[in-house]
C-alpha cells in the first residue's frame, strides 16, 4: 500500500478494462515521473471527453454535437444504412473507405443468456428511421459470431415486410492467408458466399 493519493490513483487506474494491479502501479509511477504539462493535458482530455462526447441522436454513434460527423454530412448516401453493434465497428468500416452510406449503432447484440433482448438494443430507433421509406438498402454488419448472426436474422425478419433490400456482410477467408489453415466453419461460409467471376 502506498501513501494516500498515490494509492487512490493506482486504485482508479486498476478499475480500467485490461489494467491489472501491476499495470496500474506502473502507469501511476509513469504519471508521477512525467512532465506536469503532459499530465495536465491527459487530465484535460479525460475531463473533456466526458463533458463533450455524447451519442448521436440519429444513429447512436459517438458524437460531439447532437448529430455525429457522418449523419451531419450531406454527401453521405441516406438511402443505405449499415447496422453495427458498437461505435468501434463504425471506425473499422470507415477505414475501408468502401462505404458511403450512413450507420446505425445497435449498442450490442441479442444475447438471451446474458439477459440482453431485442428491446435492450436500439432496434426501435432503427425501425423509426426506416419508416419514412427513404432507405432502400439495409446492410447488416453485426459481428460474425453466433449472437451477431442471430441479431441479423432477427432484424431481417423485422424489416421483411418493408420491402427493403437487406444484405449481410460476407464471411470467409481472410485476405493474405493460406486456404489449408482455414477452419471448416469459415471455409464453409466462404463456399456459401462464393461469387461469380465475370471476366
Amino acid at each position: 500500500m502506498y501513501e494516500g493519493v498515490v494509492q487512490d490513483l493506482i486504485d482508479e487506474l486498476g478499475r480500467l478494462p485490461g489494467v491489472g494491479p501491476k499495470s496500474a502501479q506502473r502507469i501511476a509511477f509513469h504519471v508521477l515521473q512525467a512532465d506536469p504539462a503532459d499530465v495536465r493535458r491527459l487530465a484535460a482530455a479525460l475531463t473533456e471527453v466526458k463533458e463533450k462526447v455524447r451519442f448521436c441522436a440519429v444513429c447512436g454513434n459517438v458524437a460531439q454535437e447532437e448529430h455525429c460527423r457522418i449523419c451531419a454530412d450531406p454527401r453521405r448516401d441516406a438511402a443505405v444504412i449499415c447496422v453495427v453493434e458498437e461505435p468501434k465497428d463504425v471506425v473499422a468500416i470507415e477505414r475501408t473507405r468502401e462505404f458511403r452510406g450512413r450507420y446505425h449503432v445497435l449498442g450490442g447484440a441479442i444475447s438471451p443468456i446474458e439477459g440482453v433482448g431485442p428491446e435492450d438494443l436500439r432496434i426501435r430507433e432503427l425501425l423509426a428511421r426506416l419508416a419514412d421509406g427513404a432507405v432502400t438498402e439495409l446492410i447488416l454488419a453485426t459481428d460474425p459470431n453466433l449472437e451477431g448472426e442471430a441479431t441479423a436474422t432477427y432484424l431481417a425478419r423485422m424489416v421483411k415486410a418493408m420491402g427493403l433490400k437487406v444484405t449481410r456482410l460476407a464471411s470467409g477467408l481472410p485476405v493474405g492467408g493460406d486456404l489449408e489453415y482455414a477452419d471448416e466453419v469459415t471455409l464453409g461460409r466462404a463456399f456459401e458466399g462464393r461469387r461469380l467471376l465475370d471476366v
Binding site: P112, I113, L146, T153, Y154, P174, D183, V185, T186, G188
Partner: protein, 254 residues
C-alpha cells in the same frame, strides 16, 4: 475422452454452452463435456480473425477438444487452456438462421449449465440429453418450443425432479388428475391439492406427459393453446426446482 495423466493434457467431447470475453482477444469458454461435466477453459486469441479455432468455439458447437491444465486435475485452481478443437457437429450455424429455434436452443444451454452446477463433476445423462435435443432442434422436424419443453422436462427427470402428469404425485392415486402443483411435484388429486394450484386442460396434461416420454406423434398434434399452457407450466416447474430464473426463457418467441 482419453486422460493422459502424466502430461496434463485432457481430451473430451462437449457442447459449448457460453463464451465470455477475456482481455484483448481471448475468451473463457464454458462447456458441458461427456467425462468432466461442466468445464470452463481459456481459449487464447480466438477473437482474432486469424484464429485457427475461434469459429469452432461458438455456443452450440459440438466439439472434440483438448485441454492443457497446469494442475494435476482438469478443474483446479486455474482455468485450463484449450489447445486443439475439432468440430463434431456445428449446431449453431444451423440454428442461428431461425430465430425461434435459436432462442429455444439458448434456453437449453442455460438450463444445462444450471443443472451441471459443479465444475468437473460428470453429468453424462445431462450431456447426452443436450446433444440429442440440439440434434432434434437442428433437424427441424418438431416445433422448437416442443423440443425445448421436452428437454426441460427430461433434464428435470435425470436430475431427480421428474414431474408426474398422470398419477397424483403425493398419494399415488392413479390418473388422470385435474390439478397441477409446481411445489407438489406435478399432477395432484382433489384430496392432496394445495391452495393456489393450477387447473390445466386435460389435453395440456397429455401433451406434457407425451413430451416427457418422447411420444412425438401426440406432442406434434397438440393445439397451440395447449402448447402455450404447457410451456408456462414447464417454465414455472423448472424455475421453482432450480430455485432461480432461466433468463433465456423470457426471450422466447411467443
Amino acid at each position: 475422452m482419453t486422460h493422459n495423466r502424466g502430461v496434463s493434457l485432457y481430451r473430451d467431447d462437449g457442447i459449448v454452452l457460453r463464451t465470455q470475453k477475456l482481455g484483448e482477444a481471448d475468451r473463457i469458454i464454458t462447456l458441458l463435456t461427456r467425462t468432466h461435466g461442466r468445464v470452463r477453459a481459456v481459449a487464447r486469441g480466438v477473437r482474432r480473425t486469424k484464429s485457427k479455432f475461434g469459429a469452432r468455439l461458438e455456443p452450440f458447437g459440438h466439439v472434440d477438444i483438448q485441454f492443457f491444465s497446469r494442475g494435476s486435475e482438469l478443474v483446479g485452481r486455474s482455468l485450463p487452456l484449450c489447445t486443439q478443437v475439432e468440430t463434431l457437429a456445428p449446431f449453431g450455424g444451423i440454428l442461428v438462421h431461425d430465430y425461434d429455434r435459436w432462442t429455444a436452443g439458448t434456453a437449453m444451454l442455460e438450463t444445462a449449465e444450471r443443472f451441471a452446477d459443479h465444475e468437473g463433476e460428470p453429468a453424462v445423462q445431462q450431456y447426452l440429453l443436450l446433444v440429442g435435443a440440439l440434434r432434434t432442434l437442428a433437424a427441424g422436424e418438431h416445433r422448437a418450443h416442443g423440443v425445448l419443453d421436452a428437454f426441460l422436462l427430461r433434464s428435470l427427470a435425470v436430475n431427480g425432479y421428474a414431474p408426474s402428469f398422470d398419477a397424483c404425485a403425493r398419494c399415488g392415486l392413479p390418473g388422470p388428475n385435474r390439478f397441477f402443483s409446481v411445489q407438489g411435484g406435478g399432477a395432484v388429486c382433489g384430496d392432496c391439492k394445495p391452495a393456489g394450484c393450477a387447473v390445466p386442460s386435460p389435453e395440456t396434461m397429455r401433451l406434457l406427459g407425451a413430451l416427457l416420454t418422447g411420444d412425438w406423434s401426440t406432442a406434434d398434434a397438440a393445439e397451440p393453446r395447449h402448447c402455450r399452457e404447457g410451456s408456462g407450466l414447464v417454465a414455472a416447474y423448472l424455475q421453482w426446482h432450480l430455485e432461480r430464473g432461466i433468463r433465456s426463457l423470457k426471450y422466447l418467441e411467443k
